[in-house]
Homo-oligomer: 315 residues x 2
Amino acid sequence: MTTDAVKEVRVFAPATVANVACGFDVLGFAIEAPGDEVVARVSDKPGFRITKITGDDGKLPKAAEKNTAGVAALDLLRHLGMSDRGIEMEIHKKMPFGSGLGSSAASAVAGVYAVNKLIGEPLAKKQLLPFAMQGEASADGAWHADNVGPSLLGGMVFIRSNQELDIAQLPVPENLWAAVVHPEMEILTKVAREILPTNIPMVNATQQIGNLGGLICGLIQEDYAMIGRSIHDVIAEPRRQKLIPEFYNAKRAAMSNGALGFSISGAGPSVFALCEGEETAQRAGAAISKVFDQINLENQLYVSKINKEGVHVIA
Amino acid sequence: MTTDAVKEVRVFAPATVANVACGFDVLGFAIEAPGDEVVARVSDKPGFRITKITGDDGKLPKAAEKNTAGVAALDLLRHLGMSDRGIEMEIHKKMPFGSGLGSSAASAVAGVYAVNKLIGEPLAKKQLLPFAMQGEASADGAWHADNVGPSLLGGMVFIRSNQELDIAQLPVPENLWAAVVHPEMEILTKVAREILPTNIPMVNATQQIGNLGGLICGLIQEDYAMIGRSIHDVIAEPRRQKLIPEFYNAKRAAMSNGALGFSISGAGPSVFALCEGEETAQRAGAAISKVFDQINLENQLYVSKINKEGVHVIA
């Protein structure tokens, strides 16, 4: 526990991969980098305000009520009856917008976590979930825990119900690595949502259910082969792949370099490969990156273990 | 390991509950009773034959090629190149047909398990799965492991893929009990299948996926409350319930007596309630039974722990 004596807290909230193939809409995991940094500082002036934002190209509003990190923090302060506490916030965006890596979720998580720390940690980490959700919802209008959950708690987070905020952390095999590639292009979440079907064939639902269950079993039993057999998305990927240039070439590149599975991160355009071991993840990641390079699509590669910690204080 | 010196083996294969609510098409579990008994005996006369069937009201064919237990046993013997072994089989049906309790699966499992034992156990239990599947498929034409899997292996069995016969045993909390009620009426599997939709709303698929994952998490973490929040079937139950008289009254009776969840066993007409503890299972079971009694529908109640053993030799 920190105490009120703390004058400043700097935190890091990691990027996340949601819609983990067969885990479409129900699963997300955190990676080591990139992520957002937020500083919360005690101020003599009463009330909460955002004093500085960097790395956003001027895109983010400083008005706390309109800023994801601000909304999450304010929601917490109001809940605790501490709206008049003097608190300044700095937001340092260190990850791209509209990347499919949970950028707004990371900001919301960082914002609420930093303020909770600063005021003496009245709530436990998991209790911050609804406030972070509120922050993210203010940005994209959706009420989904599949980015906020893992960015807050770390690891692989399963969402039974967004409405009920019923989530569970799954065990993650020690040697499970992710290669995430972000091609520099934007996919509007709205478009990615509209492309999804309203109805799906029963046979696809059963397949997806089988694979989701298989993935959970694979994670629990540290059965990498079962994880590999299960990472298939027959619902969203077949439709959303067309929004990402060279998607199937990138997938082939990942799989032929030993990845267990490959799919779209969130609503894209980022893609991810899950791999057994760092070497395979590096190799698969480089191969994916090369496919985008060949069409002159700038891209960034992030290779890391599944981040089991989630948001945390940094020096 | 038994050896060829064994002259006779008697085995019991348990009834099973498939389509475990949100586990529609992917989950099944075994109960303690009822179940089928099969005796396999060494014979001087070469070849495999069925010499006796009891409890079937003359409904089952004695011709091995047409009998589920026979087909499973023959399939194993052919695989091992032992078709000319002199083996006699007796089948004692101790559970109802068309009950939704995996009657043909139990026969197939008992048949192949008994013969494998008799000939010195050349294959491990799990290796018998495809032969038992073949036996059951000969009866109902479907290739589903959700009855055969748990009748063979015991416990709660998850099927990632029937086609690939990719299955996993899930951990079962120690105090998880089932109350199963079989009302004496028949539902044709064909009718129960035809009533299912070809397409389903995406939102239902996501709900079912969330609940299936939640159920697996609940089983793993021995979280009875999460099991309870997850046991909902939004795909098959809403359509199939109309085939079972008083379904929702039976469900209300189970839930108001403390059941974690209630749904249809297999394609029905049997229904089941999962409960924490024997006392609750007895109470919920009695309440379900009473609902059927009130409309003069004869029914049998079976209360047991989840059967972790599956098929086994009996005295």
